[in-house]
């Protein structure tokens, strides 16, 4: 796999977040969180090159596209990348359900952090519902996104689906 493919795929997702899909107002947190999720998934995979600096730049790009506070999604992407990188080193995860659980916990933590950070930024309590909705939607989308990225990495869906991160060699 080309070393720039992970960054390119996330870049495409970042641009896709800015396209006018006509989504309801409550779904606005979902698309940027999918970008963060992609960063997390790529960083989990062994032999995949996606440096922290690239994650930061992709997060910054998400901020620029969304027009929101600069550094917000960059911070989210950095946290997701750090957690993904730690998991790659620590447990060599292969089970989808385990990864799903980890992402659920991380997405909820990011949601709470986002809500607090947003409230601090605007100096008022911001509406929590769009953030919760986006978090839950990202949790529901996790298997789809992960399988999509595995497909990009290997060029096809593997025959053994439980063994998600088999080495490509």
């Amino acid at each position: 796999m080309s070393p720039i493919l992970p960054a390119l795929s996330v870049l495409f997702a970042v641009l896709a977040t800015a396209v006018p899909w006509g989504l309801p107002a409550d779904a606005t947190f979902m698309l940027p969180l999918v970008v963060v999720m992609m960063v997390f998934c790529w960083r989990l995979m062994p032999d995949v090159v996606l440096p922290l600096t690239a994650c930061l730049l992709l997060g910054l790009l998400t901020d620029v596209m969304s027009g929101g506070p600069l550094g917000f999604f960059a911070l989210m992407a950095l946290i997701a990348a750090s957690v993904g990188g730690l998991l790659r080193v620590a447990v060599e995860p292969r089970d989808l359900r385990f990864l799903w659980l980890i992402w659920s916990a991380l997405a909820l933590a990011l949601g709470v952090l986002g809500w607090l950070l947003g409230s601090l930024y605007f100096l008022r309590w911001i509406d929590w519902w769009p953030i919760l909705f986006g978090t839950l939607a990202s949790i529901a989308l996790f298997p789809v996104v992960l399988r999509g990225l595995v497909w990009i990495r290997r060029g096809r869906f593997g025959p053994d689906r439980s063994n998600l991160f088999r080495s490509s060699s």
Partner: protein, 341 residues
């Protein structure tokens, strides 16, 4: 021995690499925090960089949004076909009503012209506008905004009102050379002074990131009714008076405004060139203005498309405004509109 020597040799190198990695991680986190602080205090350099980048990425965004917009049109058309018969019945009933209104409107127009002639009233200055389309839906969790394919090259400056065929959409908050960012009505930072109902009660329509707007600062004991019209008062010295905003919903004590414009599915929008001294002072880039409330900025006038026949939109409340609105498919045009001033 050799193995032991090599491990002794490698150990500090590994720890140095690790320390370097940790330092990089810390630097990146610190950089994010710094950016957040700079963004909060509205650092000019940050804003300028953002604008320049959005300007550069505009063609790519425009190209990417074409299939999505076409897809949305297809879905809309399919829905229309599915409800065609019910829609025909509804339109027939509406047409009958509109014929009555047309007769009333003609009578009032004649009366109005007669009274204006008696008073020797001065004609209201026309407002120029230019029409473009939404190329990116920049709606993050904290911001409800849209990028449009009109910028300073088209005469757009920060603070101009943006409307679509149904009513007010928002106002421009950033303007690059070929794109501008529109802060939508329902954004947390959007506060529009409005007049409500036939009595023209003054209030503030504030966004809270939901689909409807809050009505703040209503005088005590105000009696409003569901369906009352809400339109701009122009008292902020930025937006023209009389632009349609929406209708009142909710109950006493918790009145809200449902915008006429469908803010989640914007397509073609028009930017009204309404220059006030306040606006020119805050964003003098577009060039000098001709008068206190000039039309299109002079620097932009030559690049503007020739005015087209304006699409008049009748305001139900005392015809406060006759503004041109962008309808689907009428992108990249220009024209004139009139508003009470």
């Amino acid at each position: 021995m050799r193995g032991g020597a090599s491990s002794i040799y490698r150990s500090p190198r590994r720890s140095w690499r690790r320390a370097r990695g940790e330092l990089l991680t810390f630097t990146l986190y610190f950089f994010c925090a710094l950016l957040l602080v700079l963004s909060r205090i509205g650092h000019n350099g940050i804003d300028g960089l953002r604008e320049r980048f959005v300007d550069l990425s505009a063609p790519l965004l425009e190209a990417m949004s074409i299939p999505v917009i076409e897809g949305r049109h297809l879905i809309k058309r399919a829905r229309t076909y599915a409800d065609a018969f019910a829609e025909i019945d509804r339109l027939r009933a509406e047409n009958d009503q509109l014929k009555q209104w047309e007769w009333n409107a003609k009578l009032l127009e004649r009366k109005n012209a007669h009274l204006r002639a008696l008073l020797n009233a001065v004609d209201e200055p026309a407002l120029n506008f230019v029409t473009g389309s939404v190329i990116a839906d920049a709606r993050g969790p904290f911001l409800r905004s849209a990028l449009i394919n009109l910028g300073r090259d088209n005469g757009v400056r920060v603070g101009y009102a943006v409307i679509d065929g149904n009513g007010l959409v928002g106002h421009t908050i950033d303007a690059g050379s070929s794109v501008a960012r529109v802060l939508l009505l329902n954004d947390l930072n959007s506060h529009i002074p409005v007049l409500v109902g036939p009595a023209g009660v003054r209030a503030m329509a504030s966004g809270d990131n939901s689909a409807e707007l809050r009505l703040d600062f209503l005088p005590d004991g105000t009696s409003l009714y569901e369906g009352d019209e809400v339109y701009t008062s122009g008292s902020d010295g930025v937006l023209p008076r009389g632009l349609r905003v929406g209708t009142v919903t909710g109950t006493p004590g918790a009145f809200r405004v449902r915008p006429y414009a469908d803010l989640r599915a914007l397509d073609a929008v028009s930017v009204l060139f309404f220059d006030t001294p306040e606006l020119v002072n805050s964003d003098p880039v577009a060039g000098p203005i001709d008068g206190p409330l000039s039309a299109a900025p002079t620097s932009a006038a030559s690049t503007l498309p020739q005015p087209v026949q304006p699409v008049s939109s009748v305001n139900p409340v005392g015809s406060a405004v006759k503004h041109a609105g962008a309808e689907d498919g009428s992108a990249a045009g220009g024209g004139e509109a009139q508003a009470d001033q």
